[in-house]
């Protein structure tokens, strides 16, 4: 089913994951910067 060529394209998958992934990575990075203060 998942290999059907008429179905979801790789571009759609990249866009969907990028849509949620980019803000999440940004948020994790910001939190990591804050967490580093524990070791300063």
């Amino acid at each position: 089913m998942e290999n059907d060529t008429n179905g979801t394209t790789t571009l759609q998958l990249v866009l969907a994951w990028g849509f949620v992934g980019i803000p999440l990575v940004w948020g994790v990075f910001q939190t990591l910067l804050n967490a580093l203060k524990l070791f300063q």
Partner: protein, 469 residues
């Protein structure tokens, strides 16, 4: 597949969300994350507390400004209505389909922010209670269970990993919301104005767009769909092949045993999560500064999020019951160790104990939907999950009470501040023993509760028959 409210036509109906051949199930986790990353903002609501105490006075609180104690009720109300709405609307969410539920959650979430913005602009706290507390809480409940239930149906081979991804998003939502809110408030604030209202409006728009995108992407699998190359798990008494009707699940001991296990795990986590900063500074006076304590809280948040994915994924390999045995055993050992780390001055040991405990707190949330699916099947897992989340609401009361009041009592009775938390730690360890025993008694659900004919509704359990009558 079509039942109840899902039977109607229209773009929101369950029938319109059934995936066509060729749809990749890997589109569903981003759809789920669109919702969970937004509603996860709830964990970061505290960034508004201090600015909202100075809306009139601006530089410092004026007599008519709101008090922190009054503002604390906003979050408490939201969590309370999360539990209530997930329990009340669980069956509707399951039968109406994920698109309708996710869109409803988007409307409630954005509407809650807009009502709160209006409340801020006319300085009426009751409107914020209504907006963020009640409407936002309803969005939290509906938005939390719907994507999780959908993912379980798409990933029968790895339900733990799938739900772990979504619930990880709920933990991660605060990471985005916190710096974003601070940045927005900075942009909209001036010497004579604090930009909370404008920030609420912007967040309402951004979250609405995100959640609607999720509701557009989401699909449910066709009836009897299985992933390519799917091999059914070997015969395992603790993985049911049968479904249990939502209200019949309430009549099984398994539901209440898992309820206690989740409540224990959550109580232990919430208790330290809210007090980690103060606790670390009081247990290691002069060694952990407020800035370092903030760093520890940040690190705990990361472990909370990472634990959701890591533990839930692990449960696919070791089993749900065994995963909770690890939580209960390890939790017991670590809570017994915390007073020792304080007495020998081991900051690293203290931090390590709490980081693991927090990872298990997140892991408990993320693993429980798959545990329910193992026990009660996939058909009503979202609705049953909704009912189980009342354990979260209960833990939200028990956890902070256990930590704060016992500390206060000890300090009032001349116990040094560095040792004021020891009693609580041992009580938490004791709670894990109760959780271990409950988890031990979780066995396969009795066959009399199984739904026998889904399409005709006949031979359902007693509650199922009554509900359909």
């Amino acid at each position: 597949m079509e039942t109840g409210s899902g039977g109607g036509g229209g773009w929101f109906s369950r029938a319109r969300t059934v995936a066509r051949p060729g749809f990749s199930r890997w589109m569903v986790p981003p759809a789920a994350l669109c919702v969970h990353l937004c509603i996860g903002q709830a964990y970061a609501f505290s960034v508004f507390n201090l600015p909202m105490t100075k809306l009139i006075g601006i530089s410092e609180s004026a007599p008519d400004d709101w008090k922190l104690t009054e503002l604390g009720w906003i979050f408490s109300l939201a969590i309370f209505f999360l539990g209530v709405s997930s329990a009340v609307f669980g069956r509707w969410v399951e039968e109406g389909g994920p698109r309708k539920a996710m869109f409803t959650a988007a409307c409630c979430w954005a509407g809650g922010f807009l009502i709160s913005a209006f409340g801020v602009s006319i300085h009426n706290l009751w409107l914020i209670y209504l907006g963020y507390g009640v409407l936002g809480g309803i969005a939290l409940g509906i938005g939390y269970i719907s994507p999780v239930s959908t993912l379980i149906k798409w990933f029968p081979d790895r339900p733990g990993m799938a739900t772990g991804m979504a619930i990880m998003g709920f933990g991660g939502g605060a990471f985005i919301a916190s710096p974003l809110s601070v940045w927005l408030m900075g942009k909209f604030s001036s010497d004579s104005h604090i930009g909370v209202m404008e920030t609420f409006v912007v967040l309402a728009v951004v979250y609405f767009v995100f959640m609607v995108v999720g509701s557009i992407i989401v699909r449910v699998p066709p009836a009897d769909w299985k992933p390519e190359g799917y091999v059914a798990p070997r015969e395992n008494k603790l993985i049911s092949k049968n479904d249990v009707y939502v209200y019949d699940a309430l009549r099984t001991p398994q539901f209440w045993l898992i309820w206690v296990v989740l409540c224990v795990n959550t109580t232990a986590g919430i208790g330290v999560l809210g007090q980690a900063s103060a606790m670390s500074q009081e247990m290691f006076p002069g060694h952990i500064t407020p800035i370092a304590a903030a760093g520890l809280v940040g690190l705990m948040s990361l472990f909370n999020m990472g634990g959701r994915f890591a533990w839930a994924t692990t449960s696919d390999y070791v089993g749900r019951r065994n995963t909770y045995f690890v939580f209960m055993t390890l939790g017991f050992i670590l809570y017994c160790l915390v007073p020792y780390t304080g007495s020998v001055g081991s900051i690293a040991g203290f931090a390590l104990c709490f980081l693991i405990i927090i990872s298990m707190y997140g892991g408990g949330f993320a693993t429980v939907p798959a545990y329910l699916r193992d026990m009660f099947g996939t058909r009503y897992v979202g609705a049953i999950h909704g009912l189980l989340l009342t354990a979260w609401s209960a833990a939200g009361i028990f956890g902070p009470v256990l930590v704060n009041y016992i500390r206060q009592y000890n300090v009032a009775h001349d116990v040094p501040k560095a040792e004021a938390y020891n009693t609580t730690m041992y009580i938490m360890a004791g709670l894990f023993v109760i959780g271990f025993i409950c988890n031990f008694f979780v066995k396969a659900v009795d066959a009399r509760y199984h739904m026998k004919d889904e399409k005709t509704g006949t031979a359902l359990g007693a509650a199922g028959e009554a509900a359909r009558a």
